[in-house]
């Protein structure tokens, strides 16, 4: 068996002089006479392979890559559009949500939070800002009956949202004057 113990890595050429001599004196390997012609054939073959593979794919393969990635992106976008369409806002208010009907429209009352509820293009939303302690359906109905013509100052509002399905196509904002969180006007009126 050949020993495997640690060997001093320092070069000691003299120790191996005989072996080095023998290795250097090893004869050349005989090469076939047609070595160069075979080499030319091989090069020609490899070039042929290259060109045939280029012909098969042409320059179309790069367009295939672009096309493929475009299709993937479109699929992802469509997935999000169809799967999450109209389901994203209602669920997060489950348990705290309140709904009523007014003038044939279904109204969902979300308790006062600072969350903004966004609609989709198919189901536009009317946002109604109200006082923080607003709770009852009756007051809401009252509001719609005495709906103010102009939308007053929007400052100092917390945004509980009311979603009205089958609402007009444009997005509108209303503020309930009477329910507004102690605005300057209300303070004055109280006085």
């Amino acid at each position: 068996m050949i020993r495997k113990e640690k060997i001093n890595p320092d070069i000691n050429e003299e120790e191996f002089n005989d072996i080095i001599k023998e290795l250097k004196s090893l004869p050349d390997i005989p090469l076939p006479q047609d070595f160069e012609s075979k080499l030319r054939n091989r090069i020609a073959l490899s070039n042929q392979k290259k060109s045939s593979s280029n012909l098969a794919f042409g320059n179309y393969h790069k367009y295939l890559v672009y096309g493929g990635s475009f299709i993937v992106v479109v699929c992802i976008v469509l997935f999000f559009v169809f799967i999450f369409n109209g389901t994203h806002n209602i669920d997060q208010f489950k348990g705290t949500i309140d709904s009523t009907e007014y003038q044939g429209k279904k109204i969902i009352i979300i308790p006062p939070t600072e969350t903004t509820v966004e609609g989709t293009s198919k189901k536009p939303i009317e946002k109604i800002t109200s006082k923080k302690d607003y709770k009852s359906k009756e007051k809401l109905e009252e509001y719609f009956e005495n709906k103010p013509k102009e939308s007053p100052d929007k400052s100092n509002q917390i945004a509980p949202a009311i979603r009205i399905f089958s609402a007009p196509e444009t997005e509108k904002s209303f503020t309930i004057d009477s329910l507004k969180k102690d605005s300057i006007k209300n303070k004055k009126n109280k006085k």
């Binding site: 023998e22 290795l23 250097k24």
Partner: protein, 195 residues
């Protein structure tokens, strides 16, 4: 008129990169023999070594633009040949392992004898037996020792060149050469006794 015989390797490669195929022919003439020696000593198989040498030149031809004039041409060439040789040896080893498992007899382990054309290119030499013995010993030492010993003692490359080809630090190359020689010596002694 360019005298290709007097032009150095790097300039020839430069000419070849510009489309001069005569420069490539000259490079083939210069390196086919040393490359064949190197690969044969590495793989110990004559046919494989010829194939590898040809593949090396085909790669040089096809990837001529990958060569940068910062490195010596010979270093680049030996790197390609060495990588191809290693791949071939590993592939052969896998194949041997697979085939010996496939044809294994349940009752007794059959020893498959591989054709003896592996170690026989030194027919016309006086020291035929000695050369065969050295080749046998070379084929027994580990690949990473074999590579550096061949590059140093047969191809007579410098430590820097070997370090560049093997992508190893110079110190590692030196220590591997030393260990390789030691293993080679021990195998030679062993085979001489057996002979």
């Amino acid at each position: 008129m360019i005298d290709y015989h007097k032009t150095n390797d790097e300039d020839l490669m430069n000419l070849f990169q510009k489309g001069d195929n005569f420069a490539f022919d000259e490079l083939v003439k210069r390196y086919k023999q040393p490359l064949a020696n190197f690969v044969y000593r590495f793989t110990s198989n004559y046919d494989d070594s010829l194939d590898i040498v040809q593949d090396t030149f085909v790669k040089v031809f096809n990837y001529k633009d990958h060569y940068q004039n910062v490195a010596k041409f010979s270093t680049w060439l030996y790197t390609i040949a060495s990588n191809l040789a290693k791949t071939s040896i590993r592939r052969k080893k896998r194949f041997k392992l697979f085939s010996s498992n496939l044809f294994k007899n349940k009752d007794e382990d059959l020893e498959i004898e591989y054709p003896d054309n592996d170690i026989k290119p030194d027919d016309n030499t006086d020291n035929k037996l000695r050369a065969e013995l050295i080749q046998k010993a070379l084929s027994k030492i580990a690949l990473h020792y074999r590579e550096v010993v061949i590059l140093r003692d047969i191809m007579e490359l410098s430590y820097d060149e070997i370090s560049e080809i093997t992508k190893l630090p110079k110190g590692t190359v030196k220590s591997r050469i030393n260990r390789g020689r030691l293993y080679l010596k021990e195998y030679l002694i062993k085979f001489s006794k057996d002979f």
